[in-house]
Assembly symmetry: D2
Homo-oligomer: 352 residues x 4
């Protein structure tokens, strides 16, 4: 019989929490032992997300009263809001230092305390953990993730941009100072808290840009692109809101280095991601749709030359709740726990 | 090592065909050996449904050239249009009588040749098979399905109505002559052929009834309700089109038999479906949402008393492509092949 | 030059308020003099609804500080929440008794104080006004509306059901004790306040019933149907939420009186609504779509016989924000102010 | 009494045709005298677009049998497919040379016969008319439109890009060789013909780029941008499909000329469009939504500096069926017929 890992999910009443439960319930080696949701503590998960009514799950509890040592969790997924996360994870790892943590917030993504303070407006409260944390873009940092105790799961927008761009920057195939990322996200990225701007009637049948020129995911892009390029990189990044539930599409405009062609870019990416279970390179010139990755942990990437000489266009798609959040988190957890990397993540996209 | 069944899917380029592939690819005991699609023969499945690009699948072939005997398929899912189906299945079973067939069309659902001719406007072309076929609403006909060679998978609307109503009619809890089924379906039920009426711009941001008072699913309802009640039953049935991809919701108005209450109806259904893996009874008074079964093989049913004395309201939901078509078909196939009934069908609803 | 009426809109930051502004700005005889929105007082209307940025409008003010006498408004549209409305309207009419009021809340719809108390859980605070108020379903109460100082604009669901049913009850064409109204509404009916249940990701790609067997619009239906039938009428009414912004569709099941046919029902309605600018009877057997009335003040009604003898199906559609709320309110205002009934309401449905 | 112009609409059964009817029916000086629709000739407009059922309109006729001289139309809107248009307009103007024509196809947009042949794959069939035609972006070519007999209405994507960029190129505020236009369009832009790719179930809940690096609207952009800049300009242009009915949003990335700032760009545009009834400049840093122009003839434009030095981001929105097609066409027609430019176009956006 398979030995199962005891898993905790903090923030189970949000969308990324529910997605962890959806995938975790069918993971062959997960035992969902603890689910927290502060404002909904005491309720059944089925009261909060009725799709789970047919299944057996622990009751929602508050994160406050938890005895981490007694729970003896093998791994905790932390899907709490930014800023509170760093305090909770500190407490958890103080009490139960052997527990592994995959954090889905932004709290541990920036390794530079100064950058964190600049973008988030306050000093980091857990500097040692910030320095310990591994950035969890698995395809790029697989080795580090395997050895990590604390993994900072990347942002959804950033994953869509970094997977195609990091290898191209590393291989010096594109100019680092002329990257434009026009990104579009489904509404689940905005979370489940009730706001006028995310009401159905405000969103449906419309489209808009937001956070133009000052979105926090830029800090993550700066960090990873600069690291890959070996020099400071500042990319243009414009997020937009799509009237769909799931899906991110990034249309990326790049300037080719001399002697490089758009086909070269595709070749570099195809080599990089050959054998990767969750990254699929389309044929040269084909362009991906968000609907073809919906509900799955897959990323699809297309490359084509622009009609302007020396320019190429790259389009990547992923499901913001899966490869952009909870699926990516489980992929990391599988590595950290020594499970097969694809365990629990083999669902095929739900289309139509 | 698990022995796998060799599976054929006829009509793989339609939505129910694609759904059979989605679920079949992850079925632990299925080998997808043959995929047919006449107009797209020669293409890869990934050209027709790009979500399958990362996976290995046989090329699409025409059903015409197939040597059924040589293929030695254990089971064939037939997702072809009405009327052509009966000819194809006849040929198939003549050539390969040991192959089992689950037919997703309406061709074998009506056991009465006269009823078939009345509703479909022409005599049935395979009368022996029509009489052999078992109606595949698993929870009602499990025993017959297990022994069947040819199963007629029920319609999506009819499944949503029959699962709550057949037990109530059998137990004489409701009046058989006062049933009103107000049903609403997502657009995938209309299939993938290009028609003006199903274009995005014709459907989005709107709602309408159609086929009022003369929809073909009525014939199926008549047959099953009459059988359950032991007398002729004609129900009122009004289908509507929802601007969503997946989901059927049936709002059913029933008149209680003397001495029966709405709570009695819930009790009867809860007893009937106790232990069923794919039917979930909500608490009395709770009402189901289509979104909580999206992508899953689950049916959810709610019951409440109307404010008019002696009346009750029952609401049932299912995903028309899963429990309303391809999931139901796999559930039947599992029984016919001696596999666990839930194999390949354990995905949890994708919400949000 | 046209003499314009000075108009106030209370609650301009909600959807029905915005719709009054949209239509009112283009009304040839309206001067939008006062716009209130308590929580947004001090802001420009364009900050709250950016579509109005190109137009000149008064700043939003609080209803509290208003000097009704000094404002000398000819007519006030009151689009405030239930219960607060009755207090505001009392104050207004005390201070400025010559001002006319069209109230879009439910506060003055029920003429019976006991019924109000039963459905709303507290005694009415303005009994004299409650008895003065005229129920503003224009096509039924045109004469009374013309003479009224205070009009209670009907609910959106109730308008969709009452326009087809009141004439049939009056003419004794249908049985009053067997009416079933299965109603579906777009999301703008739920208003603009931020609630989890009306977030895009909770609503999109799904469908559900709500308030089954206990929705407050039932009280209005009881009142009007009983009045029309000359006896107590309790109808079955089930509301559902559609993932669209605008539109109500009511599928109505009725039992024909002896010697009546479904075609008779259509004839009665066609006679009743002959010459009405905002009610359009479809040909017998045709069924209306919500999209064909979107943004317009039109109601469309279809009638057909059910396949069960003695039963008929009626389907009506309207835009819940126009004929179901703000357009209906302007239609009443036009009569109260002596303007052409169609002034400002001549927009044709926006489809696609 | 107002003298009305006799108007013809060719291609009334398409979406732009229906939009011309919607707006034209309420135009104070239009008499809709002739409506053509070849495949639907003989039908009522209400059979094709039921929203027009309550209104009086001429029956649909075939364009083939029309006696242009006898019809004595003042102006014809031509909403026919590309390529057939040039033949129809030739015939029309031969027979009735005094009739004015606003053509909504691409046939007369390119003034250079070689460019036409290159992009459309065949020589132009009406070279004299091609050279006579005036490009109908009213705000830029108002004087020429007033005097024109034949106006080529611009494309929807191109209007969204040209209105912000032409003034900036003319004033040499931006570099002409570094323009990137990431454009997103609602589905009505794809027209009403039945295609698999535009079915609801293919489009809903998804997003994708298409025609990357080779869309025909590029030819129009090249022509107008080069003219404005006084040098050859080739812009990067990527169209995407939004799961909404109406709306185009263009996110435009530009490189500032030395000594220019993003605020300068806004100032130039604000000066250019000061007093224009259909172009609204947002405050610096604000970004427009498609929903705030839905159903209206308005364009809204926002400008902000990018965080990369020397770069700015401009976002423009319009309704592709109104300012992107039929509203723009009526605006041109008004000028050509000496009517007020805003006649029939004063509707305010329908939001929510």
């Amino acid at each position: 019989m398979v030995k199962k890992a005891r898993i905790g999910i903090l923030g189970a009443s949000g969308y990324t929490g529910a997605e962890l439960v959806r995938l975790g319930l069918r993971h062959p080696q997960f035992e969902l032992a603890v689910l927290t949701a502060d404002r909904k503590a005491g309720q059944a998960m089925a009261d909060v997300f009725p799709q789970f009514a047919p299944f057996s799950l622990p009751k929602l509890v508050s994160v406050d009263g938890l005895d981490w040592r007694a729970q003896a969790l093998d791994l905790v997924f932390c899907a709490l809001p930014h800023a509170t996360t760093q305090l909770v994870v500190s407490d958890l790892l103080d009490a139960a230092p052997a527990t592994r943590v995959v954090d889905l917030s932004a709290d541990f993504r920036l390794s530079d305390p100064a950058a964190y303070e600049q973008w988030y407006g306050h000093p980091h409260q857990a500097l040692a953990l910030q320095s310990e944390a591994v950035y969890g873009l698995t395809e790029i940092y697989r080795k580090e993730v395997k050895a990590a105790r604390l993994v900072a799961n990347p942002g959804c927008y950033t994953s869509a941009a970094e997977l195609p761009l990091i290898p191209l920057l590393k291989r010096k195939a594109i100019e680092p100072d002329a990257i434009i990322i026009d990104a579009k996200s489904g509404m689940t990225g905005a979370g489940r808290s009730a706001k006028e701007a995310t009401l159905f009637s405000e969103v449906s049948e419309g489209f808009n840009a937001y956070g133009v020129a000052h979105h926090r995911h830029m800090a993550e892009l700066d960090q990873e692109f600069s690291k890959a390029a070996g020099q400071d990189v500042i990319a243009t990044f414009t997020p937009h809101l799509l009237p769909i539930n799931r899906g991110i599409l990034a249309t990326i405009y790049v300037k080719l280095r001399k002697d490089k062609t758009a086909r070269d870019l595709r070749t570099i990416l195809a080599e990089q991601y050959d054998g990767e279970p969750f990254v699929h390179m389309l044929r040269y010139g084909d362009m991906p749709h968000t609907r073809h990755v919906r509900g799955s942990n897959m990323v699809m990437i297309g490359v084509v030359a622009d009609r302007r000489d020396g320019q190429a266009i790259i389009v990547s798609v992923l499901d913001n709740l899966v490869k952009g959040a909870s699926g990516q988190a489980i992929q990391n957890a599988n590595l950290m726990l020594g499970f097969p990397e694809t365990a629990g993540l083999e669902q095929i996209a739900l289309f139509p």
